[in-house]
Point group: C2
Chain length 198, copies 2
Amino acid sequence: MSPTAIRYHRGMGRWEPNAQGRLVQAALLLYVERGFEQTTVAEIAKLAGLTERTFFRYFADKREVLFWGAGALQELLVSTVATAPESEAPIATIRSAIEAAGATFQERREGSLLRQSVISLNTELQERELIKLASLAGAMAQGLRQRGVPEPGASLSAEAGIAVLKIAFERWVNAMGEPDLPQLIRDTFDEFKAATSG
Amino acid sequence: MSPTAIRYHRGMGRWEPNAQGRLVQAALLLYVERGFEQTTVAEIAKLAGLTERTFFRYFADKREVLFWGAGALQELLVSTVATAPESEAPIATIRSAIEAAGATFQERREGSLLRQSVISLNTELQERELIKLASLAGAMAQGLRQRGVPEPGASLSAEAGIAVLKIAFERWVNAMGEPDLPQLIRDTFDEFKAATSG
DNA sequence: TATCCTGATGTCAGAGAATGACATCGCCCT
DNA sequence: AGGGCGATGTCATTCTCTGACATCAGGATA
């Protein structure tokens, strides 16, 4: 089937509303159906009823559509770190933040799994994911520093948290038994402590 | 100054020898002088006395030139893991491997710093670096698994090692006092343990 | 109401990355 | 001498991404 343009309302204004949302929806649909590489930006734009040029006004590149939520995730992590109890150990603060992040993935379980299935099939997308994760680690480290945690402890704690998130997420995706991601994160943190304290 | 083609010997065979080496040398030169983005593959190829098409026969993309040594590094890590004492704790094995990797950077100090200065100025290159590091972690984890270390401990230990490498390397690059990288890695491992055992 | 302005989108042109198909031609082997 | 091989060149093409400029509905303003 060849999908026609995605429309929402009828000509309310000069253009259909929610251009960015239509682009995201169109891109995700095509990435899932044909794969990321086999999808051109022109096709995405056409499906969204827009032009290629407009796509690049909303997204820096073809990959970025899939990482639209990264900003909100970073805010969640940073605010969780910022509002943690003063007396708490840095690694415990990071643990709380990562658990909170895990909860949001759990809430959007279907979407998260779909998105990951696309990413897992393409190296370029994995690269983008890794740099987003590194950015998250950097933001959490900065949050810790603002709370007086010195380097390199701040960065090391943040990196540890991201490592746990990565591996817990991977377990979550591969597990058919639908475990709870926050719980998996807690378990993985414990295993991490056991594995690295040798 | 506009550099002319890089030549080695005089027409020994049909072509100048060491085409790949000339490409690496030319690319590095231009990346340092003009920056990565401002350098085109056509320019690199011309400086190496070759064509654009030949560049892409040796390197999958423009970035890959800078990660030429990753294969050897991975072999070093894997073989270090493989030959570690049987009784050793997994995290200690990883620590040894990372230290060995650090030693090779220390040996090529100038080149490592130059390379990193190029990478640090460009996001695309940082993405490639991160996925290479992830690949190293994956290889080390597999090495541990072959020694009977179960998941998720194997992956967690490997990721911890890579996190330490990243941060120790960063300290090494930013430190003007020329500290010893293997020693910095040892110190960072100790700080990591302290930071994550809270 | 007439006019101006703004912002979202379209149109066009172009550089540069990357890839496939095929040509070239010294060198080595027999 | 002849033939095949392998490294390189040539050519054409698709696709990503960007800059410059055009368009035009709707809101603000006089």
